[in-house]
Symmetry: C2
Subunit: 650 residues, 2 copies
């Protein structure tokens, strides 16, 4: 629906509103999608508001909580910027989960226009103001009729004084311009001819976790199943991780099961890929028997809850050859003319252990409902966070529908989109309802490309796309990590944890695991996707992760995406940035070269809001430094120190 002031008159007998409300922000795709905030956050909305002529205009932003009928309201500010000075801004704060709506109302303030005009006439030396004062008295009397009794008395008295022939013109004008009279009038505006932005604009209020969180990913089969995983939760919590993400926990198909390193055939003991979902034991709603029982799952959820950790499950809507749906609902799958099923492939790559669902099949409604039911089943079992596998290979309309259905009942649930594809689809998934998204971060390892990408994410995309910066995944071991050794892991950990309010690592990262299956591949050698490992939580990078997680919790500046400013360093290998939120400031410098020492001058700009000289403390080792606006010498030597993460002490 169009976002503009309708020219249709409010009442048939009245002319259309004179006020134009245009270019409201944030409005996504003409109002088709909702912008995102988290509960407690403020949204500043803006619009051009103007009318013909020179009258004084007032504007208010109005907003409404999910399911409520009453509108809240706050005055908007006129942002003066010379010839472009028709921009108004107002602030909304959302304090409940779910879909809010907001609009803008604007009106001509005839009494303020009159005050403005008569003051200028008096200044201009016009002597006879009788007609003008009579007009003012009428406006004051009209205001008195709208006002509450105390204000009405003030306004009526003023109207009498304004027309009192015993007073001088100056006195009569003064009677209308007196502070209490103006204040009383402002409390009783005439909004009968106001214009309203229509229709109202949607705004989704998500839980804080949608914006801010530190993720840890592990395969539970490598940690002793669900029970063993529960045992590691307290340590993860102590390390400052907020979300524990598990790849699919369902039965794994046996037919065409993949062996180690994606081998086409599996040995009898090979566990297969957790993404080949479904076996005789059940499908997407079942647990893999070797991981544990539903009671074990409930216990894991409880343990997570009691340690303030969210459990995130994988939603991978695809089936192994043994999934019950293949026999129960063959109509939900792609068939060839000869009746054979089409397995997943992206030629020449073939995924013989996986069959895609046919989202556009004739029975699509039942299929879509079944997938919603799967999701709601896990919500009922206590899951509040879903990492969605390959959403870009399923119809966008499906996600928009399913996420709206789940969040309509459970607005606390959040969905992370694991899409690695072109920008248009990445952005579209964010708009369609995903609360977080994977990004191109793993492939941005140089200073300039990080600066470009983060600027895009923190400005134009920020209203609908929340990045989750995973430093590695079971599928992505970037060449930078393969060849950079521990300094590369340190650089990436600091970048992930300080560039994005949400970041994550997949286990093995803290051990600096960096051997690819073959040169040129981003796949791990002996990938955990096809094998069970014996994992323990004791890698050498954990202290650094813990220090970063502590700093992230202590500093609001690290909990939001906007408020990011890159700093010049006079060295292309040194990236530096200021993060700000209110008065909280964190400065970060990272040597992105894992092989050589790099030195430079970090130029702290006056726009950082910092004083001319100040003391900073490095959250990574407690070291203190005296810094100042302008250039600050920094040298970062791989093996000794890869980064500074500096909080301002004084």
């Amino acid at each position: 629906m169009p976002v503009h002031t309708a020219p249709t008159p409010a009442r048939k007998t009245e002319a259309p509103p004179r006020i134009i409300i245009r270019g409201a922000e944030p409005v996504l795709d003409g109002g088709r999608y909702a912008a995102k905030r988290t509960v407690g956050e403020t949204l500043t909305v803006s619009a051009e508001v103007f009318a013909d002529g020179h009258d004084v205009i007032r504007a208010a932003v109005r907003w409404r909580a999910p399911g409520k009928r009453a509108w809240r309201e706050a005055p908007m500010r006129h942002i003066d910027a010379h010839i472009d000075g028709d921009t108004w801004e107002g602030d909304i704060t959302v304090d409940a989960l779910g879909r809010w709506s907001w609009t803008i109302e604007a009106w001509v303030d005839a009494l303020a226009s009159w005050r403005h005009e008569i003051a200028r006439k008096l200044d201009g030396g016009q002597e006879d103001l009788t007609s003008e004062l009579a007009e003012g008295a009428l406006l004051l009397e009209a205001a008195a009729e709208r006002a509450k009794p105390a204000d009405a008395r003030i306004l009526t008295k003023s109207a009498a004084e304004v027309t009192d022939p015993a007073r001088t013109t100056e006195q009569r004008v003064a009677a209308a311009l007196a502070g209490p009279v103006v204040a009383a009038a402002e409390r009783a505006p005439d909004r009968t001819r106001s214009a309203t932005l229509e229709p109202a604009v949607a705004l989704d209020a998500d839980p804080e976790r949608a914006r801010f969180g530190s993720w840890y990913e592990l395969f539970p089969r490598s940690w002793g199943g669900l029970r063993g995983t529960a045992q590691v939760v307290p340590q993860l919590a102590e390390l400052g991780f907020d979300v524990l993400y598990l790849p699919p926990v369902h039965p794994i198909g046996r037919k065409n099961r993949k062996g180690p390193n994606n081998a086409l055939t599996a040995g009898p003991e090979d566990p297969g890929s957790p993404w080949a979902i479904g076996a005789a034991e059940g499908g997407h709603e079942a647990l893999h028997p070797e991981l544990g029982t539903l009671d074990d799952f409930a216990a894991l959820v409880d343990t997570c809850d009691s340690h303030g950790v969210d459990l995130a499950l994988d939603l991978a809507f695809q089936c192994s050859a043994d999934h019950p749906w293949l026999t129960e609902h063959p109509e939900w799958f792609h068939h060839r003319p000869d009746g054979t099923l089409k397995y997943a492939e992206n030629p020449p790559k073939r995924y013989q252990d996986i069959y895609n669902l046919h989202f556009g099949c004739e029975d699509w409604k039942a299929l879509w409902q079944a997938l919603l039911d799967v999701t709601l089943t896990w919500v009922d079992r206590g899951v509040r966070v879903f990492r969605v596998d390959n959403p870009h290979t399923k119809p966008l309309a499906f996600w928009e529908w399913m996420i709206a259905e789940v969040r309509g009942q459970h607005p606390e649930v959040i969905f992370l989109a694991e899409a690695f594809t072109r920008q248009a689809m990445m952005r579209a998934l964010g708009k369609a309802g995903f609360n977080q998204s994977y990004t191109y971060f793993t492939w941005k390892n140089e200073r300039t490309e990080l600066e470009e990408y983060l600027t895009e994410l923190s400005t134009e995309m920020a209203d609908y796309y929340r990045p989750n910066f995973f430093a590695n995944t079971p599928d992505i071991l970037h060449a930078y990590l393969q060849h950079g050794g521990r300094p590369a892991f340190e650089a990436r950990l600091v970048l992930a944890a300080t560039l994005s309010p949400t970041y994550g690592i997949y286990s093995g990262f803290e051990d600096c695991e960096n051997v690819p299956v073959r040169p040129g591949s981003e796949e791990y050698l002996d990938s955990e996707k096809y094998e069970t490992k014996a994992r323990t939580l004791d890698g050498p990078l954990l202290p650094m992760a813990a220090a970063l997680n502590r700093a992230r919790r202590a500093h609001p500046a690290l909990q939001q995406l906007p408020g990011l400013e890159f700093m010049d360093t006079a060295n292309g290998q040194l990236i530096a940035y200021v993060r700000r939120a209110g008065r909280d400031t964190v400065l970060v410098v990272v040597n992105v070269d894992p092989h050589h020492p790099q030195e430079g001058l970090v130029n702290v700009p006056a726009s950082s809001g910092l004083p001319p000289a100040f003391t900073v403390r490095d959250v990574l080792d407690g070291g203190e430094y005296h810094w100042r606006l302008g250039g600050n010498y920094v040298r970062l030597t791989p093996g000794e120190r890869q980064a500074h993460v500096l909080e301002v002490v004084s």
Copy 2:
């Protein structure tokens, strides 16, 4: 209405379309307003078009002439740009006046997807393609059913070959990939599951004059009335002017008539301001008796027509104290409580000879209709161009309604907005329907501010805002002209005529008239607004204007706003630019310093499309020069030569 792909299924039994069409351009304010082109121009539309998965997508732009039901169609091009590579473009050409509409349709090409997939499998060495080939044969047979007989035979034969067990796999694949088979399939696409951009987008096709024209403004009372004005038309046509614009030609009020230099009282012989419209002789539909009769007016229209000149009238919707409407329709005006009428004022400025209409009065419908009738009356009398006085002091909804009403009946009529106010209203008037607009040009006299402003006009605003660069007006004699002498006039004339496809001068400009009413004022001394002059068309700048007008007619590059690129000159006082349209190129260099010689190196960029070395001819004096890509030395000396306007000879 929202411009996006609706997720609602086309038929109830089908899943929603998988194709997403998003971010279509040019779409103004979410589809609320129409972009503008002129008849014969091409509009390139674009959008992001994409779907889940890896299927081959096709897209077409479809467009429809005003009042027609049939859609025309052209294929869209996929613009590949790496990760942002989901942009498609297509071209529309409009060949009739009025409001067109366009949309985009996109669909998955299953057969092309299959061809792509099977080719990759063959390349990848997959040996058993039996299932795949059977699938392809089905798709070919389905295409045959959609195709015309000749194509159907080709497709059916191919389907048979694809499944022929006597052939090798390579031969069978080749049978599907053969050129004639592909071509036949492309002619019979399956668009039953296509997605369409909804609703269709509006596009206004205006007459060429809305985009391109040279205007001359004169007060007919200074030229012997309508008859005298008609006598000067042949000379104006010979000088290359396309539009003759007359300030209001109606009876002028006597009460509160202004005297020379805006004096509060007029002498008995003072003619008054033509903008104080209305007297005993009539109002907006009447002619001032001293200018001539309706027959004289008809004769003037005929003279203009026969010389290819458009006559432009002024629409100033305001009334003198003697306008018949004040007595016939007092309800159309603002009254004070004591019954007095409010004259126009912008304190401390007072326009005692003018009363504003109350567009929001109770009887607004009758008032609006009366103003429409005034306009249509002059259309009936042969006027096709209206210069609208101060549209920003009347409601935007009024203009939107009125212009749509006029152009619904007479799409050949164009309206020029004379608004000098803040950007938001200037832009809004363009969107609301004005075909051309006055600009800030007279106040942009320095190189950098001209470059900034022209960039804005020729890019982001170009779809809805057509500038008309008047170098002066009866109200605006800029200080630059007051102090710069003839060189300043030359500079401004060249800039106006070569920076904007539509430009104009108000008579006196060609005589370098430059005396203000007082220091610091932009008003003329002894302004023609309040006095009758004895004008003749013989000013010293006319030869330059004629040369510029000839060049403007000869060069498509000077007839459109886009295709503008500024060039470096290594001198802040030398502005230089390339104008291009197709293969036509014009280079312009202007010394904006009217007092001193300026020299520099005009750096012709490779992006100009010009060869490494070329010959140019100056349209102002015929001088020829050898230029090249890179730096070209230029020296411009006030009094000798203020500018180069260079056409490329070879």
